[in-house]
């Protein structure tokens, strides 16, 4: 064997040995060090805004618990950029688990990424905490006990806005959802809800993720003579749709109804967005003492107002810290037990983690984009608030009773 060959084999063997040590062993060695939370988040690419929201929340959380930590141990966030791609997300998550030894994964941006990463978590024996992902399947078909969803899901958002629309004079709706798990789930839920309320769905379309020209869909929506168009489009796609619909003069004829009414859209679309309604996972305008405090701290640190996933991710982290403290350890199985059927006092109201599918029961909101001279962009005004029992689906399903 020549020297070079030997070196290659030696290096390969070394790498294999490091990766080959069972994860639980490396974990025990790490006991007593910092509590590590892995964030395989979309930090670049078209959906970077979501990953960056998760990161902003983590930064504020780190600042808030500085000196205290969790169980007296410091908290370390490890960020990895997935660029919004499911395959990359799995690779980065695997790196976080196997190399960095994290026991908690969060901050995953897209539902497509979440479905891919969550599927691996039982094998890795790590907790996946969703604070962003909407796909109903995550707490239904694809659910397992390592998965926790702190945020409002897509079907829950669809439920909240459907309850609101049931009372409104609008009768005919067009549904437009991005062609992936979250878009299709949300449109499915919305269709069921709205039909149950004796109203009509007059058309449905699923534009591909990343559509940059909605002209064809706008033409169809106009021809359908709908009163409102239900939109389950992720960040950038929604911004482009709203801009273009405004230029076509469509927003006056057909009211935009967003599955998630986000600040990101309101900032980019501006005044053309005023009048759009929708559900919100977390409207920063909620008037509770806890939230007022949070918004102020957030604005002081980042210079912007918290968007939906800033709020939801912060709540997730705070809740996770609470259950780790309650469990007295960061052992994954003990944390799962401590979290099940536990309550948490969130920014906008009470949260309850039900044991049967780890979906957090929480308030649902119907909101409208309005102008307010105090803010540099339109803001969500709360139209209606629904109690958790009304907007949370039956266990491990996407259906409501």
């Amino acid at each position: 064997m020549r020297r070079r060959d030997f070196l290659q084999v030696a290096v390969a063997g070394g790498v294999g040995a490091t990766l080959g040590v069972p994860a639980f062993l490396r974990r025990t060695w790490a006991q007593g060090g910092p509590i590590k939370i892995g964030m395989p988040a979309a930090l670049s690419g078209a959906y970077a805004q979501y990953g960056i929201q998760a990161k902003r929340a983590a930064e504020l959380f780190s600042k808030d618990i500085k000196g205290k930590g969790i169980l007296g141990r410091p908290v370390e966030f490890i960020y990895e950029d997935t660029a919004g791609d499911p395959a990359t997300a799995v690779r980065k998550a695997q790196k976080l688990v196997e190399k960095d030894g994290v026991k908690f994964l969060t901050g995953v941006a897209l539902s497509s990424e979440a479905l891919a990463v969550s599927a691996k978590c039982p094998e890795w024996k790590v907790i996946f905490m969703s604070t962003i992902n909407g796909a109903g399947a995550l707490t239904a078909k694809a659910w397992h006990r390592y998965f926790f969803r702190v945020n409002t899901s897509g079907p829950m958002g669809a439920r909240a806005i459907s309850l609101y629309l049931a009372e409104s004079p609008m009768k005919r709706f067009f549904a437009l959802g991005s062609d992936y798990a979250w878009g299709r789930d949300s449109v499915g839920s919305f269709t069921t809800q709205i039909t149950a309320a004796k109203k009509d769905i007059v058309g449905t379309d699923y534009p591909p993720v990343g559509t940059k020209d909605f002209a064809s869909y706008i033409a169809k929506i106009r021809q359908s003579r709908a009163d409102g168009v239900y939109l389950a489009l992720p960040g950038q796609d929604a911004t482009i749709y709203l801009k273009q619909a405004h230029q076509f003069g469509l927003n006056r004829e057909v009211k935009p109804i967003m599955e998630i009414l986000e600040l990101e859209n309101m900032k980019a679309v501006g005044d053309a967005m005023v009048g759009a309604i929708g559900s919100s996972r977390y409207p920063f305008t909620v008037d509770t003492p806890r939230n007022r405090e949070f918004v102020k701290r957030f604005h002081d640190l980042h210079g912007v107002y918290p968007d939906m996933f800033d709020g939801e991710t912060y709540e997730g982290l705070e809740w996770l810290a609470q259950v780790i403290t309650k469990a007295g350890t960061d052992d994954v199985d003990k944390v799962i037990e401590a979290w099940e059927d536990s309550s948490y006092d969130g920014l906008e109201g009470p949260f309850f983690m039900r044991k049967c599918d780890h979906q957090a029961v929480q308030l649902g909101f119907a909101v409208e984009a309005v102008k307010d001279p105090k803010y540099p962009h339109p803001i969500p005004k709360i139209l209606a608030t629904y109690p958790g029992e009304k907007v949370t689906p039956k266990c491990r399903t996407e259906e409501f009773s």
Binding site: A46, A48, Q49, D179, D205, K212, D213, Q247, K267, G270
Partner: protein
């Protein structure tokens, strides 16, 4: 009838936008023999610089004039400082270089502008929808159609009717022979690369009011632009125009008439064309 007209206009507007991007991509390939992965990012840069210019001046029109030359100069600098040295190497080097450039530029833009998309208002004269005999159609999209036609005609005339255009075509056909005949090939390459980037920048400024300036817009457009160039034939301006029309029509009509196929229809069309003309509609057999 109004519906057919609307569908036609939709296809033309998208085609116009695609043409502004793919023309430069095609030119660079024709003359430099480089598949420029960074082309989409120059388009994105155009959109963001357009946003800045509009924010500073309060007007849209200056952006259309100021931004393309800036992007063009940047492109020329990139060519003369990096690409120039690796023309003789295998194509994988150029691919890696332009791909790396795309990543660097895109991340720089994200660091500078942040993750939130930047909305750009169309000029006052082009806001809202025009009434075309009962059909409401955005004025700005009509403008896009006209703009791309004017630019297309200008580029074509320049290449066909001017002495500089003649030299460029000579370099495209046989760069060594052109070099022997006294053409400054290195300079031609730098200028063409710069001009192509300027076109992409113009496309970006023009796209911003329609799509906003956002991260990922470069990647999203470059895929379409590659399809356009492959359909039209690498290196041909006429081909870019034809390819843009075909892709624009496939995407808008596909989304309208066959929504379930919106994702694949563009590639299906490309495949069909390549079966009969592997070198593209206007390309030359090599």
């Amino acid at each position: 009838m109004a519906n057919l007209v609307e569908q036609l206009l939709n296809a033309l507007a998208l085609a116009g936008l695609l043409f502004l991007v793919s023309a430069g991509l095609s030119l660079v390939f024709g003359i430099l023999r480089v598949v420029n992965f960074a082309h989409g990012v120059f388009y994105m840069l155009g959109a963001y610089l357009g946003f800045t210019t509009v924010a500073l001046s309060g007007w849209f029109w200056p952006a259309l004039v100021v931004v393309p030359p800036i992007v063009g100069v940047l492109g020329a600098l990139v060519e003369s400082s990096t690409l120039r040295f690796i023309y003789r190497r295998p194509p994988i080097y150029q691919l890696l270089l332009t791909f790396g450039l795309a990543l660097i530029l895109e991340e720089s833009i994200r660091v500078l502008y942040g993750p939130t998309a930047k909305g750009v208002e169309p000029p006052v004269q082009l806001q809202g929808a025009a009434d075309l005999g009962g059909l409401l159609y955005p004025r700005y999209r009509l403008f896009l159609v006209v703009l791309s036609l004017v630019v297309g005609a200008a580029v074509w005339l320049f290449l066909r009717r001017t002495r500089a255009g003649l030299i460029i075509r000579a370099v495209a056909q046989n760069s060594e022979m052109a070099d022997c005949l006294g053409a400054d090939v290195a300079r031609v390459r730098t200028l063409v690369f710069g001009a192509a980037c300027a076109l992409a920048g113009l496309g970006g400024v023009a796209a911003a009011p329609m799509t906003t300036a956002y991260l990922g817009m470069g990647i999203s457009v470059i895929v379409d632009a590659f399809v356009v160039v492959v359909i039209g034939g690498l290196g041909s301006i006429g081909g870019s125009m034809a390819g843009s029309l075909i892709v624009g029509a496939a995407q808008t009509w596909g989304a309208y008439y066959l929504p379930e196929t919106a994702m694949v229809i563009m590639y299906a069309v490309m495949g069909a064309i390549l079966i009969f003309r592997p070198w593209g509609l206007f390309g030359e057999e090599e």
